[in-house]
């Protein structure tokens, strides 16, 4: 069963043999389609070493989106990722085989349909005894395929995030990082090693896309941080701070330990690594053993995230100014309605009066005095994390309330609030990640992150789902759009002006494409030959969707063919061995067939670059005389597929060709010919119209003449104006009323639902963010209740009453469901 799904994944739905093998399944669960991400990565080059082209979703096991969004943002911070992966530097003795030790990754076999996935999953893994994990897996397995004949649920709608997440899980590979990885890097297992495991696993993965389960990382983190030891909604910013602090503490502790060791067996590399961790330039290295303390500003984590704030306090009594430096890993800035991040930062550094209860103890005057305080930035960090304080404690409600202020943030930033002696005060930053909070208050909601990746533009990371988005999407979270999605943490990284210019030039092209796409949407049609005099009929709208379908077809075929010639690096190896052995049919043997070249060309074409069209009649080169018959048949199929791909690509190209100059010129010539005719026609038309106009004017004049006094006329005129315009809307009103009622009903329904949320929803929440079918859950509820770490309440009808008593907790557990509501 597991193998079957792998096959589908590899074949991307184009291989007929597979889909024929299971017609029943195909009906209710079509083979996973190419996601926009896959499409984007169609012609991606070889895998990069640095992991900058790995786009994995992170599994959500109930309210862990705060973790996922932050981990993603950290992963795509290049300096941080590099340092995490490369620390501690391993000495030759640590790598006996001359190879780096691999992270202990298990690939979870894809779940089989009909809910009996638990068994194979368990067998395939068999390493961890974690019941929570098992439970989760059962859950995942169960809801991946809905039982046949059920009504369409939100996660079954292909455009819903639930569906996409589910597909991502089905598609896999799902990397498990659940088991202990003790002593992996000569370190105690800690937050740092957990993070390092995740990063390393992603980098080492042979797939570009998939899902990673950060279970172990979270387990460790929760072990060390009591506050997070529940399944409630957590604050992503708080999590970010704790993770960074943990990482710093872990790395330093390790460095110290290593150093003690290192003093005995003085290894160069090791010392370097330790020095790097502790800050080579600092005098601490010498006096470490004596003091055991560290100065701020040392170590690579500090190098990346740490800045220095100077608070200048001026006593108003004696005019003495005192300065105090403090380090920061992020800046929490207060928000104002209709402001910009720039302005909020400036306000952050604005002068502040210390008076009344807040008086300042002046050493000079000796006593509490009124004073003026100012915070300025003395050292700018490489990565600037800005925490927008969207959650404000209000006494009225005695709870944290979310501020929906519109706060705009630019793609680039420089800081105005630096001290005079700051180094490089004009440092330019670029926005590279936005952590978005969706929801009405601090206790509910969902986190996603929008991240700018190297060469691949902006991507939306929503738990398991990864989707490319355009640059403008980043600006959807100023806080004023409906849907309660607001930017919560902004990550800026330092950049040079030249690099920005370069990138801008590249981006521009993309933007042009999008702009015209938008125009097309508004226009309802693609710009066709313009000589047609008719209006852009709305029916043309219908022609629009045709092209994407074509597009998809061609692309789907392409992947299939492309991955065919034994391209190991292209995503076939990582998955289960079953997949490698059984679906031979999918893998044509030819290594040097012309298909490979023509296919790549076709692929190029599909990606929008109009290349030289391949010769349509390239004969299939006989590959080997010893070919089996099936092989030939298969080859034929292959060729057909190729042909199809080529044709599709050609169609694609034909579209592109429209823009091509040659054709344009031809058309222009044609247009010139038609011009004369048109002119005549128009002249006639306009004459006709002028006549009509004249008639109308006369009639109007007559109407006007009929009116009595000008005053009465004026007032009447205005009245009838409005009446008329309302008359136009008369029907509208009624229909609107209806709609309103419906809306109200829906609202009521929604409220009712969220108040007395059925317990099974809650369980779905706890599992993977989707609703679940009944049977498998019941089997696992017992497991769940047994697990100590999971506080997901027990479910099912019998437990309904208990569920009600647990309502308080439910409201927290609910939040993902809530978010799901506006997501769907």
């Amino acid at each position: 069963m597991a193998g079957f799904f792998q096959k589908i994944r590899v074949g991307s739905g184009s291989s007929k043999a597979d889909s024929n093998a299971s017609p029943k399944n195909k009906k209710d669960e079509p083979a996973p389609e190419l996601t926009p991400l896959d499409k984007m990565l169609q012609n991606a080059g070889p895998l990069r070493e640095d992991g900058s082209d790995k786009f994995f979703g992170l599994e959500n096991f109930g309210n862990t989106c705060y973790c996922n969004s932050i981990v993603q943002a950290l992963y795509y911070s290049e300096p941080f990722r590099e340092n995490v992966v490369n620390y501690p530097l391993l000495t030759p003795s640590d790598t006996p085989n001359g190879k780096l030790r691999k992270v202990n990754v298990t690939i979870r076999p894809p779940a089989a349909p009909n809910g009996n996935a638990a068994a194979p999953a368990k067998g395939g893994k068999g390493i961890t005894g974690s019941q929570a994990l098992k439970a989760r897996q059962a859950l995942n397995g169960s809801h991946q395929l809905p039982p046949i004949g059920q009504a369409v649920r939100p996660e079954d709608r292909p455009d819903s995030p639930e569906y996409k997440k589910k597909q991502a899980m089905i598609k896999g590979p799902v990397l498990e990082l659940a088991q202990e990885n003790p002593d992996a890097y000569g370190m105690q297992e800690c937050t740092f090693t957990g993070l390092k495991d995740i990063f390393t696993a992603l980098i080492e993965s042979n797939d570009r896309t998939g899902v990673l389960s950060p279970q172990r990382f979270l387990d460790i983190f929760k072990r060390d941080n009591e506050m997070f030891r529940n399944s409630m909604h957590q604050d992503a910013h708080e999590f970010y701070g704790l993770v960074l602090n943990d990482v710093i503490a872990n790395v330093e502790a390790n460095a110290k330990a290593l150093q003690e060791k290192g003093e005995i067996g003085n290894k160069d590399g090791l010392v370097q690594s330790v020095e790097k961790a502790l800050g080579a330039s600092s005098p601490i290295m010498k006096g470490l053993n004596a003091s055991g303390a560290r100065t701020p500003g040392t170590g690579w984590v500090h190098d990346i995230f740490e800045g220095v704030l100077t608070s200048e306090t001026k006593c108003l009594t004696c005019e003495t100014a005192s300065q105090r430096d403090e380090t920061f890993l992020d800046l929490s800035i207060d928000l104002e309605e209709h402001s910009s991040v720039t302005s909020c930062l400036r306000k952050f550094s604005a002068e502040e009066m210390l008076c009344e209860r807040n008086k300042f103890h002046c050493d000079h005057c000796g006593g509490l005095q009124e004073a003026e305080k100012r915070m300025k930035i003395k050292k700018l960090p490489k990565v600037l994390a800005l925490h927008l304080k969207r959650f404000k404690y209000t006494e009225d409600y005695s709870r944290l309330q979310k501020l929906f202020h519109r706060v705009v943030y630019p793609y680039h930033l420089r800081m105005f609030n630096t001290t005079d002696d700051a180094e490089d005060p004009d440092r330019m930053y670029e926005l590279y990640a936005v952590v978005v909070h969706i929801g009405g208050n601090a206790y509910h909601g969902h986190y996603v992150s929008v991240i700018k990746t190297k060469d691949r533009g902006w991507l939306l990371f929503d738990d398991e789902m990864v989707e490319p988005v355009d640059k403008h999407f980043v600006r959807n979270f100023f806080g004023d759009k409906p849907g309660m999605a607001c930017a919560y943490v902004l990550f800026y990284q330092e950049v040079t002006f030249e690099k920005v210019r370069e990138e801008m030039d590249a981006e521009g092209l993309e933007e042009v494409r999008l702009a015209s796409q938008k125009a097309d949407i508004a226009l309802g049609a693609e710009p066709v030959n313009g000589t047609t005099n008719g209006p852009p009929t709305l029916s043309r709208l219908n022609t629009q969707p045709v092209s994407p379908v074509e597009d998809h077809d061609s692309l789907a075929t392409l992947t299939h063919v492309k991955s065919a010639p034994g391209d190991i690096s292209n995503g076939l190896t990582t998955t289960s061995p079953v997949q490698l052995s059984s679906p031979v049919k999918n893998h044509p043997v030819p290594a040097t067939s012309p298909s490979a070249t023509s296919v790549t060309i076709a692929a190029d074409k599909a990606s929008g670059i109009p290349p030289v069209p391949p010769l349509p009649d390239v004969p299939p080169t006989p590959i080997s005389p010893s070919k089996a018959k099936e092989d030939k048949v298969r080859d034929k199929k292959e060729l057909k597929a190729q042909e199809k791909a080529r044709k599709a690509a050609e169609k694609e190209q034909a579209k592109i060709a429209e823009k091509e100059k040659a054709e344009k010129l031809a058309k222009a010539r044609e247009a010139n010919r038609a011009e004369h005719e048109l002119l005549q026609k128009t002249i006639q038309e306009s004459k006709q119209m002028a006549a009509d106009d004249e008639k109308r004017r006369k009639k109007e004049a007559a109407d006007e003449a009929r009116d009595r006094s000008p005053v009465a006329f004026l007032s009447r005129g205005s009245k009838s104006m409005s009446r008329k315009s309302f008359a136009f809307l008369g029907k509208t009103d009624r229909e609107k009323e209806k709609e309103k009622n419906k809306e109200a009903e829906r609202e009521k329904e929604r409220l009712a639902r969220s108040d007395t949320a059925p317990p099974e929803l809650l369980n779905g929440t706890g599992g993977g963010g989707s609703t679940t079918s009944h049977s498998p859950i019941r089997t696992m509820t017992t497991d769940r209740t047994e697990t100590s770490s999971s506080s997901v309440p027990p479910k099912s009808d019998e437990d309904a009453h208990e569920g009600r008593t647990l309502k308080g907790r439910f409201s927290f557990g609910l939040k993902r469901k809530k978010s799901g509501k506006f997501l769907s």
């Binding site: 801008m504 981006e507 042009v512 313009g530 205005s718």
Partner: protein, 635 residues
């Protein structure tokens, strides 16, 4: 009333709110499209005090914001993460038009184009205003510089030093018009149109009468707000009543402009640019229109800014979001546009070498287009193929152009883009003169000082930057807005040759007023070093340069001729420490929603906001008697 029968069925509007729905905006969002509402709120929050006196809100005209057309899929996508692209919007933009001849604001650019430099000081003392104003009026006819104030009956005429755009190309010569008041009208009847592009047109029942009865000196206002376009008479007793309102089906009207040269009681040329890339030429008096760039045949990207070329009756320029500037002729037919490359056109139509598309093309062939050293002329105004639109096409970069402005001497063009660039272009010679960059973030708006010496830009760095193109320098950065700046304008009534007053509005709902005088600015050392004599001479020499050298110039960017480094642009971004910072003389929240436009009139400042409020702030009353006196003295 018969025409109403052919209109599409009345739209059904979704109940969902429009801009900022339910987010603490203190006015009620109309559930259905309503009429405009005129209110006159008063109180301390509706006035602001500046050095010259108290500005008081005269009135608040709320333009009805049209909800989306029913044929547009209900865009109420509950998923805040939905990635479907949304049509471009541009808030509320207005343009004001007076049909009568009015005195020029005292500091208006007049003489520089004739003499090549600013001749005299203007209005050092209020008493001088009289003479200078009269002079300004006299010169307006030949300078062509007073773009907005040209007498309606003036024929296009050009000052000797500022030739008309496209002069020398006989194919572009305007057809002889016998009677100035008999102008060519657009070809289609708006009210009878059954084009699916236009959803509904509501013309005031007594439009003709209203037009006849209104005072001659009253202001008309044209406003685009989302998919609606309104024509309002600000002189009317009932301002809220529009003269005409057009609702478009899907396309959003993003910008428009009125031709100041051809305006008359019987004819007004309005052009509108749309989110679909299309352009409509409309005469509100005869209610006729013509569609240009239909279905985006010439350029399919949204039009972010559109302006009549000063001094031209036919030609206008549109900034498309793909970074190209396209010149259209309102009366020409569209034709599929193919870039005129070096090869083909030179065979068919030999051109003087200086006009052949220069480096842009050659580089383009290599796949490398360096947008920072020149503009890519894909079709020159001097092309011999002028039967159809477009008249000229220039590609500036691949980034969305946010705004552009013509210099008062009708020679230069300042263009700002989303990539943060400010380009100064000699549009007559089709060459790039200079390229600057914002401190950070995109630039959103641009304007010239009335004397043409300075350029203002506002951007996403919350700053207004004052540039001096003739010195190739950044003069100052103005810090005072709390969010992105959306519009800047000079107040010509409070400018003279040394002191300038300008205003700005932004997303922070604030208006800022600024006083700037060159002598007053503290100039840090680093900044003064940058301006060498060679630089300042460069700009003027470029002005004098004949076009024959254009090729040489763009080729020699790095050659010995300009090896002093100053000739190479883009200029490095000036550091904060080396740039003077200018504080505002006033910063005041004047609306509940982000503002998007402001303009100064003789007796008021007018602002508009995203949700459609147009607010008129009367100038301090103590100065108005003086103005009246001046006017009396004139007549």
């Amino acid at each position: 009333m018969d025409f109403r029968s052919v209109l599409p069925p009345p739209p059904r509007y979704p109940a969902a709110g429009t801009y900022n729905a339910g987010l603490g905006v203190n006015q009620v969002i109309p559930m259905i499209e309503t009429n405009n509402v005129l209110t006159t709120p008063s109180g301390p929050e509706y006035q602001f005090l500046v050095g010259e006196g108290l500005y008081v809100l005269k009135e608040d005209l709320h333009l009805a914001t049209p909800p989306p057309h029913p044929s547009e899929a209900p865009v109420v996508n509950p998923n805040p993460l939905a990635t479907t692209p949304q049509p471009a919007t541009a808030g509320t933009k207005l343009s004001l038009l007076a049909l009568d001849v009015r005195p020029l604001p005292p500091a208006f650019y007049r003489v520089a184009s004739r003499s090549g430099g600013v001749q005299q000081s203007i209005q050092e003392h209020p008493d001088e205003g009289k003479s200078s104003t009269t002079e300004g009026r006299g010169s307006s006819s030949d300078a062509g510089g007073a773009v907005r104030n040209v007498n309606s009956s003036d024929l296009p005429s050009h000052s000797p030093s500022a030739p008309a755009f496209g002069e020398g190309n006989a194919l572009l010569a305007p057809p002889a018009i016998k009677d100035a008041n008999k102008r060519r009208k657009p070809k289609n009847n708006m009210t009878k149109s059954n084009s699916s592009f236009i959803s509904r047109v509501i013309v005031h029942e007594t439009l003709g009468k209203k037009l006849q009865e209104r005072p001659a000196d009253g202001l008309f206002a044209f406003a685009n707000i989302n998919r609606a376009f309104q024509w309002i008479d600000l002189a009317s007793t009932n301002k809220a009543e529009y003269l005409t309102k057009i609702l478009f089906t899907k396309a959003h009207c993003l910008c428009h402009d009125v031709n100041r040269l051809t305006k008359s009681l019987s004819h007004i040329d309005v052009i509108m640019g749309f989110s679909t890339g299309e352009i409509i030429w409309w005469d509100p008096i005869s209610q006729r229109y013509t569609r240009l760039n239909k279905n985006g045949i010439i350029n399919g990207t949204p039009v972010s800014e559109i302006r009549w070329i000063p001094g031209s009756e036919h030609l206008f320029m549109a900034a498309h979001m793909d970074g190209s500037l396209v010149v259209y002729d309102k009366e020409k037919e569209d034709a599929i546009f193919a870039a005129e490359e070096d090869g083909a056109p030179s065979q068919q139509q030999p051109q003087p070498p200086q006009y052949s598309p220069t480096n842009g093309e050659t580089n383009g062939a290599n796949g490398v287009v360096n947008h920072s050293s020149h503009i890519q002329v894909t079709k020159s105004v001097h092309s011999k193929n002028q039967k159809t639109n477009p008249v000229a096409v220039w590609k500036l970069s691949n980034h969305r152009i946010n705004a552009f402005a013509f210099s008062p001497d009708n020679r230069h063009l300042a263009v700002v883009s989303e990539d943060g660039s400010l380009r100064i272009i000699d549009y007559l010679k089709e060459q790039l003169l200079d390229l600057f960059y914002s401190y950070y973030g995109g630039l959103t708006c641009v304007c010239w000082s009335p004397d043409g010496k300075y350029v203002l830009t506002g951007g996403q760095d919350d700053l207004i930057s004052i540039w001096c193109p003739s010195e190739s320098a950044l003069i100052a950065r103005c810090q005072g807005h709390h969010s992105w700046v959306t519009s800047v304008a000079f107040d010509p009534w409070r400018c003279d040759d040394k002191n300038y007053r300008f205003g700005s509005v932004g997303e922070d709902c604030r208006i800022c007023l600024w006083d700037f005088s060159v002598g007053m600015l503290h100039r840090p050392k680093a900044a003064s070093v940058r301006q060498r004599a060679s630089v300042s001479s460069r700009f003027t020499s470029l002005q004098r340069e004949n076009t024959g050298t254009s090729r040489v110039r763009s080729d020699s960017n790095l050659s010995a001729g300009e090896a002093d480094g100053d000739g190479v642009f883009p200029h490095a971004v000036s550091s904060r420490a080396s740039t003077p910072i200018l504080p505002p003389v006033l910063s005041k929240t004047v609306d509940a929603d982000p503002l998007c436009w402001l303009e100064f009139t003789q007796d008021a400042i007018i602002t508009s906001c995203k949700s459609g409020h147009v607010r008129t702030w009367n100038r301090p009353s103590d100065t108005s008697p003086q103005v009246e006196e001046e006017q009396k003295a004139e007549s």
